[in-house]
């Protein structure tokens, strides 16, 4: 049963071999796409074709094969830039979202932060949006402050504005959609306020870019980080989008091949954007795969993806309400949240929940979701989390509910 007019998961599922029903095993009910998404055949095929038809190192070879490899690699950059409406010279391939954030923390932070400067993150940040700043703060003497959240799991904008006004905030690093709470943060509004006080803004789009229309040109942020494997692409690749005028003024991060225009014994000059920030052989096949994933998402339409997931979350809220004592964290309004649904049961530890629903091949996550400060704020050590995507429909939620009942009766028996 399709939840919206534009996306029919039963049809899309045919593109995902891992979700196919094989033999008499029950099909996989994959509800862990916030951790990593599954990959359509088109993405896997594009990578195989790359290796079998044109594998060569990029940017330097003059022979046909190398030209072809370079062309496919750079075309993938165009596809990714187009997806988030970013300038291609500001679209940098990294190894994951984590490296993208570290790139800014190290390349900009180590050279620009002074003792006393403030970096603002949020209590709902993923560790990848916290730890790089803590490391750089330790090196530079800057301070990291955490914007608090309300009991509903939303950011307190007044606190943010107050702190921007009263403290020397140089950088605001904020997650667009929380992987642990689902909260959609008003990042454009935060960017507007931060810019009034000359702070830079980095948006962690790891959970937004795969799931809703995100236009860098309209975000107003200076940087946007996201990761390939959560958006139908392969592992081993992520993206940092930056405003070219800011990237231009930054010194490079990783040094090595590709990112130079000249290397002398007494110093070196840098390549143009985006290559200045891409040291060494890039993830070539991975970029090709991610390019196809971006095109695949654009074909479906990110607006349609968002509508589908909103409907899926609504349905899940209804269905999960059936289960005695089940508590859902974060905003209760489906309009204010993305796909991840964190929940707990009073009588079952999240580990046991996740392990026991796996008996029915329902895959959900249990743990701190790389958001330990948030867990402390919520007063729990862990939650269970179900997160859907384009290939999930109401039947997957039904399977989860059924498996939760079964888990409870198993443990109660």
């Amino acid at each position: 049963m399709a939840l919206t007019a534009d996306i029919d998961p039963r049809v899309l599922r045919l593109d995902f071999p891992i979700l196919a029903r094989v033999g008499d095993r029950p099909p996989l009910v994959y509800l862990d796409s916030a951790a990593t998404s599954q990959k359509p055949t088109a993405v896997l095929d594009a990578m195989d074709r790359y290796y079998v038809e044109t594998n060569a190192n990029v940017h330097r070879g003059v022979y046909q094969l190398a030209e072809e490899a370079t062309a496919r690699f750079e075309a993938a950059r165009d596809s990714v830039a187009r997806l988030v409406d970013a300038p291609r010279e500001g679209t940098i391939f990294t190894k994951n979202a984590t490296e993208a954030i570290n790139l800014v923390a190290w390349a900009w932070g180590v050279r620009n932060l002074a003792p006393g400067d403030v970096i603002m993150v949020t209590e709902m940040e993923h560790h990848s949006g916290i730890v790089p700043w803590q490391i750089v703060a330790e090196i530079t003497g800057a301070r990291v402050v955490f914007a608090p959240i309300t009991s509903d799991g939303e950011l307190e904008l007044d606190w943010i504005t107050h702190t921007l006004r009263t403290e020397p905030v140089r950088m605001v690093s904020v997650v667009h959609v929380s992987n642990a709470l689902g909260t959609i943060n008003p990042v454009a509004e935060i960017a507007r306020r931060a810019h009034e006080y000359d702070a830079l803004v980095l948006v962690d789009g790891s959970q937004s870019v795969p799931h809703m229309p995100v236009r860098f040109s309209e975000l107003g942020a200076d940087f946007l980080a996201f990761t390939g494997h959560k958006m139908l692409g392969p592992t081993g690749i992520g993206v940092l989008v930056g405003r070219p005028e800011i990237l231009d003024g930054m010194s490079p991060f990783l040094g090595g091949g590709e990112m130079i225009s000249d290397v002398r014994t007494d110093g070196s000059d840098w390549a143009e954007l985006p290559w200045k920030f891409e040291a060494g052989t890039p993830p070539i096949a991975e970029a090709v795969g991610l390019g196809v994933a971006a095109d695949y998402l654009r074909d479906i339409g990110l607006g349609a993806v968002r509508a589908h997931e909103r409907a899926l979350v609504s349905y899940a809220f209804g269905a999960l309400a059936e289960i005695d004592g089940l508590r859902i964290y974060g905003p209760q309004d489906p309009d204010r949240r993305g796909a991840p649904i964190s929940f707990s049961l009073p009588d079952l530890h999240p580990h046991d929940i996740a392990q026991l629903v796996d008996r029915e091949r329902v895959c959900i996550r249990a743990g701190h979701h790389c958001a330990k400060p948030l867990m402390r704020t919520l007063g729990v050590s862990a939650t269970a989390r179900a997160s859907g995507y384009i290939y999930n429909d109401a039947s997957d939620i039904d399977a989860l509910v059924h498996a939760l009942h079964a888990a409870r009766s198993f443990m109660g028996s």
């Binding site: 530890h349 999240p350 580990h351 046991d352 392990q355 008996r359 050590s381």
Partner: protein, 149 residues
């Protein structure tokens, strides 16, 4: 799935539902905290040692069935043993979890039922949590003893 029923054996569920040695000792010889980096679970273990022998133990904290049951089984198993014997039991349990040896009931008592956890690498940390807390506590205690002399 037979595998999972192996993980969640009756004996384990029994220790989970009715954990032995729950609580906190007053004036313990050893008090130690341990947390599971995977899920953030925290465990607090207190121990009384008289004449180099564990005479009382108590554990408290948040945890999944495996970590709770393991703490309960461990507590049962160690009471009455010398610190050296307990250290040997801990090492044996660690090696069982890493599938280096088969479990020996004489050493582990009920905790032998946890052998099946070894097939679930992520859960091994849960099963080991209380044992590693105990090891930490005992080693610190022994170092302090030596230095005290």
């Amino acid at each position: 799935m037979a595998g999972l029923d192996d993980l969640y054996q009756q004996l384990i569920l029994d220790h989970y539902r009715r954990p032995r040695h729950c609580g906190v000792l007053d004036h313990p010889t050893i008090a130690v905290d341990q947390h599971n980096p995977l899920c953030g679970d925290e465990l607090h273990v207190t121990l009384r040692i008289d004449d180099d022998r564990v005479t009382e133990v108590a554990h408290t904290g948040d945890g999944c069935s495996i970590s709770q049951a393991s703490a309960s089984m461990m507590s049962d198993a160690i009471v009455g043993h010398t610190t050296d014997e307990v250290l040997a039991m801990i090492e044996h349990f660690r090696r069982v979890m890493h599938r280096e040896v088969a479990a020996d009931e004489d050493q582990l008592g009920d905790a032998i039922a946890l052998e099946g956890v070894a097939k679930y690498p992520v859960r091994i940390k849960c099963a080991l949590l209380s044992w590693m807390a105990l090891k930490d506590g005992l080693l610190t205690h022994m170092v302090n003893q030596q230095e005290g002399r």
